[in-house]
Amino acid sequence: MTQIAERTDTIPTTKVVGRPHPWRWISYAVIALALALFVKSLLTNKNWDFDVVGDYLFDASVLKGLVVTIELTVTAMVAGLILGAIVAGFRLSSSRVLSGLAAAYIWFFRGVPVVVLIIFFVYLAQLYPYLSLGIPFGPQFVYFDTKQLVAPMVGCIIGLTLNESAYLAEIIRGAVAAVPRGQIEAAAALGMTPGQIRRRVILPLILPVAVPPFFNNIISMTKTTAVVILASVIDLFSAVELIAGRLFLHTPLLLVATFWYLLLTAALTLVQFGLERVLTRHLRPARP
């Protein structure tokens, strides 16, 4: 029987008994048991040395190392972003020469281990004692003493930056490739120049796409910086390792480092969520 109906403003709901989820309850039980065992071992095993963790959590040398870790991360990410944007620009160029060179760059610096890059640049002076700028096989204009130019910290930053720039170039390339053609055509039809199209149309569209993988990389970088221990640069990890060596106590000091790495990660995650909220505000429903 079909009937012509009057419009109603009340929203009726039909009561339905929910489907049982036995596997959920089994999972809860298994996880709870494992957690209980772990907590019990934390509380009863004296070898964790939580008192030592407390002693060194805010130790001056640990905090100094933390600052170095942040410096390395920020510098390598900023420099890597600039370099990566340039490489991505070349990669997207219609010139096959530039695109091919950029592809080779990305392949090389994603392929060479970051440890190798860092040690190479820190010990660059052994390979090239002097660096100069000028015309190849012709007159040279400026000379540098490599050892003074590339201090260990600088060598580490160069190595981290080159590695990071290759990854960031790929993130940027992927985000730009995902910009719909129609957007660029609409901007061109308004009379925008290629530079204006990049700044006004492409940039706002790639940001929401690029932010999650970019923060993935920063978070990863905070911990990758620990390889600078091989160049005798004292970052957070080296600082706790030095103390651990002195005390012959590794576990509590690794906990100290872990605490700070997790705190950095938490801070970066919050920044990421905030940025994502701002960058996707155009996708939320209209204000009433």
Partner: protein, 275 residues
């Protein structure tokens, strides 16, 4: 296959430029060819559009209608032939007897004089309706932001969207988005408006609003080239209708003749299928 328009007396509000301006067509296309590799899409198109005229371009899909429209503002580069808009050769400049590609800046300046409306709207999704309309004047025209915002809101009011100025494209219906797109193009005060199947992506109930805006634009004297499948719009609004088939203009003339009394077999077949 040459179909030429005898220069018509100009449209209602086009008298500003003086007699000499009106005599020369605003758009002059000669011997236009476009091929993608071996795929020959446009095979010699000649078309004149006088100031203030509305030309509707109809024809089966793949006949080259949109390609011609996109060549006019250089979104596509012609393989051969020439396009002049207001006396400017589009996309190229002649120096010492040779044609040179225009600089990006000069090309952008040519495009700024024409508005284009796309089938899929192509509004900037991160900007509100008002910001979309301001974008051209502020970025390209270097207009003052406050003045541009005020003007954008006026134009949006004209296309019936005064209540939706602050909304993002994702919060608007297709018909509303397309009207914002028309407003965005109009904000640049173009001499010529190009419409590439502006209602083809819309739900039937939303088509009317967009056509009404286009109709009033035509009445205000705007020169328009409209690629469309809306035969009733072509019949009512167009000064001329060009029927495209297989990359050439097969039939051209006032809508009453082309749509009402087509002489060519292919035009008759096409019209029988769409009506």
């Amino acid at each position: 296959m040459t179909v030429l328009d005898t220069p018509m007396p100009s449209g209602p509000a086009a008298g500003a430029g003086g007699a000499d301006d009106n005599a020369a067509p605003l758009v002059k296309i000669r011997g236009l060819h476009k091929a993608y590799g071996p795929h020959h899409v446009l095979r010699g198109v000649d078309l004149d559009v006088a100031r203030g005229q509305v030309v509707c371009v109809i024809g089966p899909s793949g006949s080259g209608k949109s390609t011609m429209l996109r060549c006019i503002n250089a979104l596509e580069t012609p393989t051969a032939g020439s396009i002049e808009v207001a006396g400017d050769r589009i996309g190229v400049i002649e120096r010492n007897g040779r044609l040179h590609e225009l600089s990006p800046k000069a090309l952008a300046a040519q495009r700024a004089k024409m508005g284009m409306v796309f089938q899929s709207f192509n509004l900037f999704p991160t900007r509100t309706a008002t910001e979309n309309v301001m974008e051209g004047p502020v970025v390209v025209g270097r207009a003052d932001k406050t003045a541009a915002r005020e003007k954008a809101e006026q134009i949006l009011d004209r296309v019936g969207l005064a209540a939706h100025c602050h909304k993002y494209p994702a919060q608007l219906s297709g018909g509303q988005q397309q009207r914002v797109a028309i407003a965005r193009a109009l904000a640049m005060e173009p001499e010529l408006m190009l419409f590439d199947e502006p209602t083809s992506a819309l739900d039937p109930e939303l088509v009317g609003d967009v056509l009404a805006v286009m109709r009033s634009l035509a009445e205000s004297g705007m020169t328009m080239i409209v690629v469309t499948h809306e035969m009733s719009f072509a019949r009512d609004v167009a000064d001329h209708v060009a029927f495209f088939d297989q990359g050439v203009i097969v039939e051209y003339g006032p809508p009453g003749e082309v749509l009402g009394n087509p002489t060519h077999g292919r035009t008759r077949e096409f019209l029988a299928r769409v009506q």
